[in-house]
């Protein structure tokens, strides 16, 4: 009997590993499509659809239809707060995921956060960009400067003006799990990661579902020349 908000239903939603993976994937604040979330959780689209419907009914996520895609985002910052609180409890209880194994250091160094660079190198890159005044950060928003546009065009052949998108900012600060600091997200972050891949500076790990990004020896050197810690 008891009265009060029904916690257990909400908690049960988070309690399923597949749904939990989806939610943590959404913790960056970005909206993801149903297919992307399915891949993130490692399940088929049918199953994902069922899960997403439940999460939506539970008020944890909100859909937004965009053409034939369905973007989902966390319905409220409070949801992210609770997830973070759960992370804290789980971490204190020593319940880390065990399966990551030997790749964990690599994951900390450089990994994909949906479509852009995260981890140690991702944080380092954004720091360097701010030092070089390629971007200006005020609060949560990040803005590309005129010098930044020139830099992108000259050094990386990226046309910043072509990166505007109806539903996504060009630059966005994204909180890094392992570093607890920001790295660069948004269409620019994605475009830069694309360019790194095209130039064969870096490549996503071949293991299916892995988020690890491996830099080549040459790639690491070129990357350091542009975004080195000392510069």
């Amino acid at each position: 009997m008891k009265a009060g908000p029904d916690i257990s239903r909400i908690a049960a939603l988070v309690g399923d590993p597949a749904r939990c993976n989806m939610l943590t994937a959404l913790m960056t604040g970005r909206a993801l499509t149903a297919s992307e979330l399915a891949q993130e959780a490692g399940i088929t689209p049918q199953t994902a659809s069922s899960h997403l419907a439940k999460l939506e009914a539970g008020g944890l996520i909100e859909p937004e239809k965009q053409g034939r895609h369905r973007y989902y985002r966390l319905s409220d910052p409070d949801v992210a707060d609770v997830l973070e609180g759960l992370q804290g409890i789980a971490a204190r209880a020593g319940h880390m995921r065990v399966r990551t194994g030997p790749k964990d250091p690599a994951l900390r160094r450089a990994r994909i956060c949906y479509d852009h660079l995260a981890g140690d190198l991702g944080v380092q890159m954004l720091d360097s960009m701010k030092r070089q005044k390629l971007v200006r950060q005020s609060k949560q928003a990040i803005e590309l400067t005129g010098e930044g546009k020139r830099f992108m065009a000259e050094e990386l052949q990226i046309d910043a003006d072509a990166l505007t998108h109806p539903r996504r900012p060009v630059c966005k600060a994204c909180l890094d799990w392992s570093e607890r600091r920001h790295h660069l997200a948004g269409t620019l972050g994605a475009a830069m990661m694309d360019r790194f891949t095209e130039l064969k500076w870096a490549a996503r790990d071949s293991a299916p579902g892995s988020r690890v990004v491996n830099f080549s020896r040459n790639g690491e050197k070129r990357f350091a020349a542009l975004f080195g810690a000392g510069d």
Copy 2:
């Protein structure tokens, strides 16, 4: 395969209704025995034992052996914070327990919080006691004054000195779910509720498991005379 704390296991622990009932029962901060928690959750002691073992393994609760009893308490205030956060989400999503039905107003007005009075009348009682200087509240702690002892003896035939208990404070502030303010817990709170029942001022609702407390017409008058809003 992602790294990071394993949220879903923790959330799954909260996701079971029986376990969730136990946890919310512990949110008052008091330690309860395994049997009490079993009753609170409406399950048999065997099932409760299994649940409690899981909650302990998950680091959500901590046991303390005391004679042949096993007292459980939340292992950390953070746990209570997360539970409260979940309540907020659940409440916003409109997922209140439905079964309470027409009794909900009654539940708001007066109910049992384990063994003492909660709800509107419970909050009103503590307020009045403070106004009459029967108790002194500093931070979380509440202390019975000399005048309070006299009042208890004269008006309610309660010997305050006999209420000391090894594991439980005489007076304790307990946060009220419906009122978001404190009501009186502790052995004094329990003793007062017992007296109200003996005097037939109030009685627990006959429905099994109900927390509603019904005041008689006379009881309400006598209660108001002692702890009325104007006094």
